[in-house]
Amino acid sequence: MLGRFKSALMNAVGASEMGLQYNSDSDTESVTDLINSNLPIAIETKPYSRPSFLGLTNEETQVSADHRVRPIIVPRDLSRLPWCAGYAECINAGKSTWNEDQATAMRGDLRILDTNVTIPYVMFSMFDGHAGFQVALTSRLHLHRIILERLMSIPGELLLNEDKDATIKGREMVIGAIELAYKQMDQIVEHQAHRGGGGCTALTVLFLNGRLYAAGAGDSRTILVLGDSERALTRDHTPDSESSRVRSLGYLKSTELLKGQFTPLQFRKRHFERDVGSAVMYREPFMTGWAYKILTQTDLRLPLISGQGKRSRVMGTIGVTRGFGDHGLKAGNTGVSIKPFLSSQPEVQSLDLEELNLTERDCIILATDGLWDVVSDEMAASILRKTLAPESPSLEYRLTMGAQELVQGARGRSFGREWWLKKAQDNGDEEVKMASVDDISVMVVPLYPYLCEHRQWVKTQQQERRHSVSSTQSSPEST
């Protein structure tokens, strides 16, 4: 009897494993023509997979999802990522069956509308999915293509114009392209999100025309590690950090969006029936300070935003306020729709790399909150500097080693069923704190190689221009 049960179970296990059909399609598969289209199109739902640059087989995808060991996965072929950028990931400690983080990278030449010029670009993106892996997966497969299509539709003279006195600079067109692409991505995943695909955050780093663009929507973060300093290039979008935006919207459209269930006002503490009629501290969405008011019955409604920092929630439900998906997400118990309060708009920063005095070891780190929940920007930068410092093995290896160290620095070690971090303090004592039990993904992108490539491209362009000028006018070189 026991034997039969066991064999039935083993069969079920075997069958489930075989039943999972993974698709190893690359991330650059064709989509129907999206150019100039704002319409959300129905896209195919793909089975679970890991980033294509990892080159994992079905078997390896299975093993990488081991929630007890949480193996740190790095690309087998480091050259699959542009400039051998470092990457490492590990799965959560059991909160979801699959790793809901995703990442992708793409490089190529952008053919500019109305000219014969092509300009090289490199793009990296990372997504942190929640409540299902589907939306993050779809974003991984489509976002870069959509951004490219937006970029391609910018006329060359506008895109390449970085003149000081230009009314609209090229960078503003690029930022606009990314913003539009993010919006379109959100529309594309609507159907999947409605069917339980969840949602995701998004980070994109684009290298184009000598500039670095860092876009972010949600609580994943990109930081710049430059020499001995480091700073965040994107801002976390949580109910706490976006409290003003979210509550303003609730304030302005309270009947329509809050359905009499929530209050957009913020109170110092939770009030009850017995407090009605007494003076309490509160603030309205546009306020940064505090004021008094007499508590009324409607003020007893649930707060639109509750909790603080990482634990803050919109309608007690979701802890991130920007990204893709979550269409159809309803507040627990009340059935009020949350999506209107979520935005797909990224905040985009643009930097001129020539102005940064870059050296070989300057990098950016893209990571999901699996890292940032337990590792500060300063700690991450110091772990990375330490790993990149030695001369051997070569930098290509060390970028991935750095990513792996960062993941390890957040994942820690397991003791029984719990994960802990042990850290030596300055006074020699060991500090023990909780490790991250979330999915953790880290990408380390070196900046110097792009700068070199860009300088070379500028030089070639100048030579070609000179060449064409001298051949058409047969005059001496003009500057």
């Binding site: 059909q21 679970y48 093993v63 007890r68 060991v69 299902g132 802890g319």
Partner: protein, 241 residues
Amino acid sequence: MSYAYLFKYIIIGDTGVGKSCLLLQFTDKRFQPVHDLTIGVEFGARMITIDGKQIKLQIWDTAGQEAFRSITRSYYRGAAGALLVYDITRRETFNHLTTWLEDARQHSNSNMVIMLIGNKSDLDARREVKREEGEAFAREHGLVFMETSAKTAANVEEAFINTAKEIYEKIQEGVFDINNEVYLNKLFVEKIVCILIEYLLNYFIISKANGIKIGPSHSPSSPGGIAGTGGQGSSQGGGCC
């Protein structure tokens, strides 16, 4: 293909002793003379038959460099067998065996079968560690010993399969508890039970409560269907991030 047992192996030893090459020879029957430095962990799998039973070997190939030691330590968990590899042409890789063994014993199940392997037996002319020394070390520490060549494939099959036989015998003798995760990869069992429960819950409770039709249109065997509906459940439960 279904299998009766799944054994997890871990390959350990200094950098450059040929761990990745042993794995490649065993799973793909080929030799790669120049192999990149292993940074993380790599996986291989092969089905073997012992005593008429299908056994799946899931092999974790680890990075040997000292810098990765703390990460490697976390991979012993659940391993039924370990291949501890040194290079017969480099004395220091033999000298480091004690620290590797300490690591292995400390971080693994005490019943883990450890096979000591002196690799690169094809380079006999450059040998620095005598066969007898390997045998003596194995005897002293209760290990199984074998000299192999990942290049010529000599003894590679035997190394992996003999380890599996040893584990299998332990199971037959009842040394390994039948409910122990070590050999009966409990993870899979737990996972499938969790998925089933989650799926059923979603199907019967949540889908009805919300009037969202989930189920018949999804194949129960597709990960999209399962994890997708599971996700819906957790988002409805509140606190989805």
